[in-house]
Amino acid sequence: MARMKFLCDADRCIECNACVTACKNEHEVPWGMNRRRVVTLNDGKPGERSISMACMHCTDAPCAAVCPVNCFYTTADAVVLHSKDLCIGCGYCFYACPFGAPQYPKVGNFGSRGKMDKCTYCAGGPEADGSKAEYEKYGANRLAEGKLPLCAEMCSTKSLLAGDGDVIAQIYKERVSRRGYGSGAWGWQTAYHETIAT
């Protein structure tokens, strides 16, 4: 099985936010929540870079480790998913997550955050693949249809790559060697405990 990963080539990202829009639309993510967002570093200064970030589907995921009810599971494709039926909305996964991925539908006072929502790598949840229940809770399940996450598919500059970690790492390496520079795979060290040697 493939080990699915995300890779954002910061030297290509133009901060168009198409990935964010695509994600929100594909999964009908409610107002106020974002499974994916674009963060711009050094905005307006020399060396400015933008990075599209969502759940990185970490190796040995911190969210899964700290969850008091153990509602997370990792699929055969190494995608980190969770069960909204089991989630109690305690918010601990947000404290543990290095990428700020978990989102909550409510403001959060009195512990009523509601069920956590995050990027599913377009792979749905524990319900039957493509079922109505799955769509309502987790959004579309593109992976079950043989498609990759829509954010990466839609990316106009092909900055955001999704797919098997080895394949996208190879694509990135070739890019870097052709153009002669690369600022590295953002978040990989934190998420996967490895970087791409370029």
């Binding site: 008091p68 600022s183 590295g184």
Partner: protein, 338 residues
């Protein structure tokens, strides 16, 4: 003629423009042929080492999302999953073991003079109400709090995921809402008993003799006012511990309010967890001494009346004071308004 000159002017102007353009073009081309656009770009590892957290700007209202990377979550995870479980396990199981050993060695502290059958009011109805309001909410807060840290290990395999999630969700709501009952209880307890909990000279003596707790002959009974030095220590630990629990707890209950960051939330959870398990351990000792550990002690909080001999042995100064003021109270009872 003028038409002819105008034509020349136009040609000359066009030529001049062409010259300017021709001269400026090479200047553009003179830039180095291979540019590294990354020369001044932000570098992930460098930022990580400098700042511990990588933050930028975003376009959505949720400002928390501007944090790109926050690897400190890993330290918090280590604390929550490993350190806190060790601390909690050691202080709670350790306290239970200590109390069991103490009980086996010492047994229940007996009344040397036996029960007289005459009682004296130690805690009035309001004092008992405040104590039990605090106590019941504390026990529920303690159990539901421990569930967050230990439930996954101890209860989940036994209850199954669905039942455990349902229980944990109710536990979470109980924990959050009972915090208010607990807060009210502790505030009342502070106001109600603060006057009797300042250290006095008798406390020094009491501490020196270990409160007579380690004398199996029951001959050591250092004098004490309404609260002995041990109870005063408990009182101040409860007040200060509760303040610590309230501050960190309400921070967790109102997450990210007033500009709190993920780092602040993690610190609040660490603080809440450590003080919480110490608090549970301390209250275990309090429960032991108030029930199993000492004959006649539980009466004080059940119907509020303790045996006169118990009062003489354990709180001699308070007993004498009460007997003195008891007459004053009797006089007070004759007020015509009653």
């Amino acid at each position: 003629m003028t038409k002819y000159f105008a034509h020349i002017r136009m040609v000359a102007g066009a030529l001049a423009l062409a010259v300017v353009v021709a001269m400026s073009a090479p200047a553009v081309a003179q830039q180095p042929s291979s540019v590294n656009p990354n020369a001044s770009a932000v570098q992930e590892q460098q930022l990580m080492q400098q700042l511990k957290v990588i933050q930028g700007l975003g376009t959505i209202p949720d400002k928390k999302s501007y944090v790109l990377e926050h690897p400190a979550g890993r330290d918090w995870r280590e604390f929550h999953n490993v350190t806190l479980r060790w601390i909690g396990g050691i202080v709670i199981i350790g306290m239970i073991v200590l109390l069991a050993i103490f009980y086996m060695w010492r047994g229940s502290m007996k009344l040397r003079t036996g029960f007289s059958g005459t009682t004296i009011l130690r805690f009035n109805a309001f004092e008992r109400f405040v104590h039990w309001l605090t106590a019941v909410s504390f026990v529920i807060l303690g159990i539901t709090g421990l569930n967050i840290t230990f439930g996954r290990v101890l209860l989940l395999p036994w209850m199954g995921p669905e039942a455990f999630s349902t229980w944990s969700e109710w536990a979470k709501y109980s924990h959050n809402y009972l915090s208010f009952a607990f807060t009210i209880g502790v505030v009342l307890m502070f106001l109600m008993w603060v006057g009797e909990n300042f250290p006095t000279a008798a406390d020094v003596e009491w501490m020196k003799e270990g409160g007579g707790m380690f004398d199996k002959e029951e001959k050591t009974h250092p004098p004490a006012w309404k609260f002995n030095a041990g109870q005063k220590l408990l009182y101040w630990f409860v007040i200060l511990g509760s303040i610590a629990m309230m501050i960190s707890g309400y921070m967790l209950m109102f997450p990210f309010y007033g500009g709190l960051t993920v780092g602040n939330m993690e610190l609040a959870e660490i603080f809440h967890g450590v003080v919480g398990v110490l608090f549970v351990s301390l209250i275990l000792a309090h429960i032991y001494l108030g029930t199993l550990g000492m004959e006649g002690a539980f009466d004080a909080m059940s119907d509020g009346n303790v045996d006169v001999n118990w009062a003489k042995e354990h709180h001699s100064l308070w007993y004498e004071e009460e007997m003195g003021s008891g007459r004053a109270r009797a006089r007070g009872a004759m007020r015509p308004a009653e």
